[in-house]
């Protein structure tokens, strides 16, 4: 099969970091804080590389949108086995307001430009938890989507996707080209090996601007305030059931 896979990877604050809110409540502190690839994006890259190893796809292209630093994230994807990278340059104010709608417009434009047959994304990013980019990209391209995938198989020109849904597992068959978003149990991302990390240095990362793709990255959303979750308050012990009911009524809970 001569398919090309586009994998979106996002540079997010590392999951192990303690998040701090900025003093002016406009966001969280990102300067000097450890960043790494979104864990679901790692799973997406791993799936794409696995498909390439099974010779079901020809080329894996890793894409990321953001400032200069996202090249680190693209390099990690290259070290895991992607063939080349595309860095869509978005910086400053535009980057702070970059959201799923803009990213999906960029991915849709890139998919057409690169003639991709499959787009694999993480199901959501651990910083904003939007869970929208995959779905929006599919809608913009008018492609079928297999979201929350825990298993993906290519059968001829169709994709069989097992999805993790609230009721259990749902198996669907969708035609290619399609968008798949990776859930936790899809695979276990591999460690990059030292030789692969060194080979990744030689792989190309192309630079593209959103304007070149005809995408307007201005946001229609404005973040008003960012706050920590409220501190957990201590509870109160009550002696009888009547007391409990009375207190719940007082608190307006029942």
């Amino acid at each position: 099969m001569s398919a090309r896979v586009l994998v979106g990877v996002k540079r997010v604050i590392d999951y192990a970091v303690k998040i701090r809110v900025k003093p002016d409540h406009t966001g969280v502190v990102t300067d000097g804080v450890k960043h790494s690839m979104n864990p679901f994006c790692e799973i997406a890259v791993e799936e794409a590389v696995k498909l390439k190893e099974k010779k079901l796809v020809k080329e894996v292209v890793a894409v990321s949108c953001g400032p200069q630093q996202v090249q680190e994230t693209i390099r990690t994807a290259l070290a895991m086995g992607a063939d080349r990278g595309i860095h869509v340059e978005v910086s400053g104010k535009d980057y702070e307001t970059l959201g799923p709608l803009q990213v999906s417009k960029i991915l849709a434009a890139l998919a057409k430009k690169e003639q991709a047959d499959l787009i694999i994304l993480g199901k959501q990013a651990i910083d904003d938890d939007c869970n929208q980019t995959g779905q929006m990209t599919a809608a913009l391209l008018d492609w079928p989507q297999g979201t929350f995938a825990s298993e993906v198989n290519i059968e001829a020109d169709k994709l069989k996707v097992v999805r993790e849904v609230d009721g259990g597992l749902e198996t669907i068959k969708i035609k290619l080209p399609a968008v798949v978003t990776a859930d936790l149990r899809l695979n276990t991302p591999r460690y990059a090996t030292l030789p692969n990390i060194m080979k990744a240095k030689k792989k190309k990362i192309a630079n593209v601007k959103p304007a070149d793709l005809g995408v307007d990255v201005s946001s229609r959303l404005e973040v008003l305030k960012v706050d920590e979750p409220p501190q957990r308050q201590g509870g109160v012990k009550v002696e009888t059931v009547n007391d409990l009911v009375r207190k719940l009524k007082e608190a307006g809970r029942i």
């Binding site: 590392d14 192990a16 303690k18 390099r75 990059a192 090996t193 030292l194 030789p195 060194m198 240095k201």
Partner: protein, 420 residues
């Protein structure tokens, strides 16, 4: 002072979640070394950060969960080490044409530092293995390199470095193990003491006397396990560091083919010392990793543990102590990395820097880990905290850094510094 405040304040905001997810934190802090001022990835190139990430991930996933078991059951973790070798950790600074990864000394130091956050004693053994593989790669001829290096780099076979004897520790040049040439074999007689991996490893790089007294009479021979006349003493009982066996290696009329001679006769001492330069950096890097993990454990514990109505992190003395520990860690790291760069550039001060790094770093990191154990001793006495064995054992493992202080030749390091 400001540094400590930053360390402590950043964590306090998240403290409401600490009670709920202690095990998550104890496991995750080992993973990426998060804490701005002691972040080990500061000043590294992108590629080095990638190497470090792989090593940290491997340490957290494959080594840390089993460290206590390996130590208690005295297991030599062959499978885990072979997995590490698949990632390229078997011959980090060995040439790629015989299966190595061809990285620099600085890359190697970064990797061992990250790996030892998983298990210090196993990483120390892996570093010895790497040292032996490098010696064969650098000083061996093509037949020897092709015979031994690929298996060593993939850890199909494991290696041990045999220099120390019961009668010669710091005075290594006075070693007595003799190797008499008879026909096309050297006949070895003698004993080597405290050999890491001895008995479980397959390839022994042995320094022995082929000529007269002193360093010029020493040669380096590669002896394979199973050679008649090669036997091992009983496994030494150690306090900690039990994931690598330590035994005496005994030669009784052990015949080794002359084709196993590394370099020429009389070059053995030189080869041994060159190997040790790198070995010292590696061991120092291992203690860095241990100290790093200790500092993070100490910091997290201080934010949770309450005494006298406040968390330990409110105590100014302890804040100062933590700042001191962080300073020792960063200073040690800088010295080790400088030494690694000096070695890979072949600078004239390389040897003394390596010796200084080993001396300074192992001492400083030892005191860091001892202090962490003192801080954490509440976890040892409090029974419900014993259900989290990980942090305590990790700490104990780190504290057996005296072994680190001893390996790689402390006295010899002093000697070489005095000669400068």
């Amino acid at each position: 002072m400001a540094a400590t405040r930053a360390l402590v304040r950043g964590v306090r905001l998240g403290s409401y979640s600490i009670g709920r997810s202690r095990s998550l934190i104890f496991n995750s802090v080992q993973r990426r070394g998060i804490a701005a001022c002691v972040d080990p990835s500061i000043g590294l190139t992108d590629e080095q950060k990638e190497f470090q990430k792989v090593a940290f991930d491997f340490a957290a996933n494959e080594m840390a969960p089993h460290m206590a078991e390996w130590d208690q059951k005295e297991m030599f973790p062959v499978e885990a080490m072979r997995k590490a070798a698949q990632l390229g950790f078997g011959g980090i600074y060995v040439n790629p044409d015989v299966g190595g990864s061809g990285l620099s000394r600085l890359d190697t130091s970064i990797i061992f530092e990250a790996l030892s956050t998983g298990c210090v004693s196993t990483t120390a053994y892996i570093s010895i293995h790497n040292m032996c593989a490098w010696m064969i790669d650098t000083f061996g001829n093509n037949e020897q390199r092709e015979k031994f290096c690929p298996d060593l780099c993939s850890m199909q076979k494991f290696a041990s470095y045999c220099l120390t004897e019961p009668g010669s520790g710091s005075d290594a040049a006075s070693l007595l193990t003799s190797a008499k040439l008879q026909g096309d074999h050297y006949i070895l007689n003698g004993t080597k003491a405290f050999i890491s991996g001895g008995g479980d490893t397959d390839v022994y790089v042995v320094m022995c006397r082929t000529g007269g007294k002193g360093p010029k009479g020493i040669s380096c021979l590669v002896v394979e396990k199973g050679t008649p006349g090669l036997s091992f003493g009983k496994k030494e009982k150690k306090v900690g560091w039990n994931s690598q066996p330590t035994r005496a290696v005994i030669f009784e009329d052990c015949a080794v083919p002359v084709t196993n001679l590394l370099g020429a006769e009389g070059e053995g001492f030189n080869i041994a010392m060159k190997g040790l330069n790198g070995g010292r950096i590696n061991i120092a890097s291992c203690s860095l990793g241990a100290a790093h993990a200790s500092v993070l454990l100490a910091r997290d514990h201080m934010c949770v543990r309450k005494q006298f109505g406040e968390t330990l992190s409110n105590s100014q003395f302890l804040q100062f102590k933590l700042a001191e520990m962080a300073t020792k860690l960063v200073a040690s790291r800088l010295l080790v990395r400088q030494a690694a760069v000096a070695l890979q550039e072949g600078r004239p001060d390389a040897v003394s820097l390596c010796s200084m790094a080993k001396l300074f770093v192992t001492d400083e990191c030892f005191s860091v880990s001892v202090y962490t154990l003192i801080l954490l001793k509440s976890l040892v006495t409090n029974p419900c905290c014993l259900c989290h064995p990980c942090p305590i054992f990790r700490c104990q493992n780190y504290c057996f850094l005296p072994s680190i202080k001893l390996s790689g030749g402390r006295g010899a390091a002093f000697c070489s510094l005095c000669h400068e």
